[in-house]
């Protein structure tokens, strides 16, 4: 399958009002079929970058393109083909799970039969079908995370952006999500996600970028980056080198 640039971040810089650079000249490319891991310590700039990619956060300099569309000037086109799962999803607590999924399906204009099949498929996979009629406020953190994942999957995005997607998931749900990620990549979807779990990143990703203090300090395919070492060793080495 021919690789296509789905996400292109060019010299992205985010400066906060106080003058601090949360992201400094970040550049990377995620192609169709990639599972791209974005790793770094707490406060390194992962979430800031991710929020800018999905059009939530304004940025100071640079360009972010999704499937050739600029996030700055053509945000709507970008959002139509992107799905975002935040690290701590703020869902509408007083809707039921199914009401929330229908809201997302309505927004993406997914037909009745298509949404029904999609919701059933993923809700069964994540074992929350029984709970879909309950208010989201009664869900555990993990169940909310599963619902957010299902809502991201029902419109078959070209780009899937996830911020710490495995936090709060039980082992079976984490395994299911990994399977889904592999299946999506096989179908040409690009996945860009942040994680602290280096073992997961090492097993799952074909490309990785390491960010520290807002700057990309290393990037490439997993083989290029790690060679014969583990990702954990590489991560700790480059972190120390930058001190």
């Amino acid at each position: 399958m021919e690789k296509k640039k789905i996400l292109e971040i060019k010299n992205y810089t985010k400066v906060y009002g106080e003058g601090k650079k949360a992201a400094d000249n970040v550049s990377l490319i995620v192609e169709s079929g990639d599972i791209y891991g974005f790793i770094g310590h707490n406060g390194a700039g992962k979430s800031t970058t991710i929020r800018a990619v999905v059009g939530v956060l304004d940025f100071t300099e640079g360009e972010i393109l999704i499937d050739g569309h600029s996030v700055k000037t053509d945000a709507m086109e970008c959002k139509k083909i992107t799905a975002y799962i935040p690290d701590n999803p703020d869902l509408y607590e007083n809707l039921t799970g199914i009401q929330y999924l229908n809201f997302i399906a309505d927004v993406f204009k997914i037909g009745a039969s298509e949404r029904e099949a999609s919701i059933k498929k993923y809700a069964d996979l994540f074992e929350i079908t029984d709970a879909l009629g309950d208010l989201i406020s009664s869900y555990s953190h993990g169940m909310k995370q599963k619902l957010a994942i299902i809502s991201a999957l029902i419109h078959n995005p070209k780009l899937m952006v996830m911020d710490e997607p495995f936090v709060g998931l039980d082992p079976k749900a984490a395994f299911t999500l990994k399977q889904i990620m592999h299946d999506m990549c096989a179908n040409g979807t690009a996945i860009f996600f942040s994680t602290h779990v280096l073992d997961v990143a090492e097993k799952l990703c074909n490309k990785v970028a390491i960010i520290k203090n807002g700057k990309i300090i290393d990037t490439g395919t997993m083989e290029e980056l790690t060679g014969k070492k583990s990702l954990e060793e590489v991560f700790l080495e480059v972190q120390d080198e930058q001190k």
């Binding site: 906060y16 999905v54 956060l57 959002k79 992107t82 975002y84 703020d90 607590e93 208010l135």
Partner: protein, 532 residues
């Protein structure tokens, strides 16, 4: 509005709908609370309707029927403007599901527009209650043609739009100015305060301008002239009046057209800056410059009170709603010291035959009317929201927790209340003993407000809110605390002024202090029972 806007608006309404919670909730206690809230709000609306019908009948009896439509338009517009100004920050900006909504294919203008429409729909029960009641009064005395009823009702739906849009736009400008600054919360709060004060000043200025001095002796004519002159300044009130009274099609079209046009125009600049403002408001860079310094220890209660203080200063919405009374108290206290109190009384009471001596026993109640209408204790239990686990998991008893919350309300209210009472007493030359008794009464009122607020806050605690505005402005706890308090205070002011003509003033204040202290003590006991 496109299809996606309707989907979003419908979802926003559903996500805060008590009916939706009732329908799908399994918790019987929660369902009971929802029914209780519904009954409470129904009673509140009925009281409001009864009050408005009473006012309209009063106008009718005074042969002022012709000013009823304009009066309705002005009342609805003022309320819509003020309430929106207080809510804009929490609804249009800084809402918690911002990330989720902005990552979906909605344009920023759509999100902002839907948030506005949500505010509008939520305000409709109030608007309709006032307008319908006034229509009833108007129908009784004017016996209008049949077409007046649908025209009145339809145009009522448009009446709040223009003032709400103006208030939203001011809120947008305040957010835009403060977003780029370091102390954005404080600056946003100060700017909103300034706007509110400016509006109140403007209200007096318009009234002064609108009143005809030659006719001041005739109070009824003065009211009529004031309303008519305000109409000449605020055109939508005139359009409504002419549309209803004369079935003027051009005025109907003007009110509807300008409302729609303004909605379309205002959300163009709001949409353009929306992401940038929210990005700035929601992002805080960590400076990482902290150096370990000697730390202070506090008692548990003081520590909780300090937490409450930081919670308040962290939210412009909370600060504006919780601190407005205190600011007004300072201003009124200073105004009383600077200006002649007799002329101030004449100005506020429209030259009614009331002397400062007559108001002596009412001074603490007047200050309480400013300070006591919002008690942080009615708000903070629910405001814990998702963070409730923090205090629940700490080794502190509920009693200590609520003592801390009550302590904060006392810290917040007592200094301002005492300052305001002292200023008015000094300015009105209240005898020393009476002034001392009034300060004691003021302290009792603060204690009552704190404890009664806490009872309402605990009894009607709601942690599953979507937006803090729901807790700060629209919760049952706040409504149950505020409305009886407000009406009782207003009635008490009148009562003590009348009693003061026949009884010893000090005796009145002592009796009132004893009653308020008893109520405060009973409320405090109730808090203790609720926190066992």
């Amino acid at each position: 509005m496109n299809k996606n806007s309707i989907v979003l608006l419908r979802t926003l309404l559903k996500s805060t709908s008590q009916w939706n919670i009732y329908k799908y909730c399994k918790d019987k206690k929660k369902k009971g609370r929802i029914i209780g809230n519904f009954i409470g709000y129904s009673i509140l609306y009925l009281c409001l309707i009864a009050y408005c019908i009473g006012t309209a009948i009063g106008y009718g009896k005074m042969e002022l029927t012709e000013i009823m439509p304009a009066n309705c338009a002005i009342t609805v517009s003022i309320l819509a403007f003020i309430f929106t100004l207080f809510k804009t920050n929490g609804y249009l900006f800084n809402f918690k599901e911002y990330d989720m909504l902005m990552s979906l294919p909605f344009s920023p203008g759509t999100v902002a527009g839907c948030k506005f429409m949500y505010m509008y729909v939520k305000s409709l029960p109030w608007t309709l209650s006032i307008s319908l009641a006034m229509l009833v009064g108007y129908a009784i005395y004017a016996a209008p043609a049949i077409w007046v009823y649908p025209v009145w009702l339809i145009l009522t739906m448009f009446l709040p739009v223009i003032p709400m849009l103006l208030a939203s736009f001011i809120g947008f400008l305040i957010a835009k100015v403060s977003a780029g600054l370091k102390k954005k919360n404080i600056i946003q709060t100060i700017l909103t305060f300034l706007f509110v004060l400016a509006i109140f000043a403007l209200r007096f200025a318009i009234e002064a301008f609108a009143r005809d001095d030659e006719k001041l002796n005739d109070a009824l004519l003065s009211v009529s002239d004031t309303i008519k002159n305000i109409e000449n300044i605020y055109f939508p009130a005139k359009w409504f009046d002419e549309a209803v009274v004369q079935f003027s099609v051009s005025d109907i079209l003007l009110l509807v057209g300008v409302s729609i046009l303004l909605f379309a125009i205002i959300f163009i600049p709001v949409g353009r800056s929306y992401r940038s403002i929210n990005s700035k408001l929601k992002s805080h860079a960590a400076s990482r410059k902290y150096k370990m310094t000697p730390q202070k220890s506090r008692s548990i209660e003081n520590s909780i009170a300090f937490k409450e203080f930081k919670r308040m200063t962290g939210s412009p919405t909370y600060m504006i709603n919780g601190g407005l009374g205190e600011i007004f108290t300072i201003l009124i206290g200073l105004a009383a010291l600077i200006f002649d109190i007799d002329s101030l009384i004449a100005k506020v009471l429209h030259d009614a035959p009331v002397t400062k001596e007559m108001l002596y026993p009412a001074i603490p109640l007047i200050i309480y009317f400013l300070i006591g209408m919002v008690a942080t204790t009615a708000i903070t239990p629910s405001l814990e929201g998702k963070n409730y686990w923090i205090v629940q998991s700490l080794p502190i008893s509920k009693k200590q927790l609520y003592h801390g919350k009550m302590l904060f309300n006392m810290y917040l209210t007592v200094p301002f209340a005492v300052f305001g009472t002292l200023c008015l007493c000094v300015s009105a030359k209240v005898p020393i003993l009476t002034a001392l008794l009034e300060i004691i009464l003021m302290l009792a009122l603060c204690a009552f407000s704190t404890a009664w607020g806490c009872v309402c806050g605990i009894k009607h605690m709601r942690l599953d809110w979507e937006n803090e505005i729901e807790v700060i402005k629209q919760s049952s706890a706040v409504a149950i605390y505020m409305f009886p308090n407000m009406f009782a205070t207003m009635a008490l002011v009148v009562l003590v002024v009348i009693l003061g003509m026949y009884m010893n003033l000090n005796l009145i204040i002592i009796i009132l202090t004893l009653i308020v202290s008893l109520l405060a003590w009973l409320s405090y006991k109730k808090v203790l029972r609720l926190t066992m």
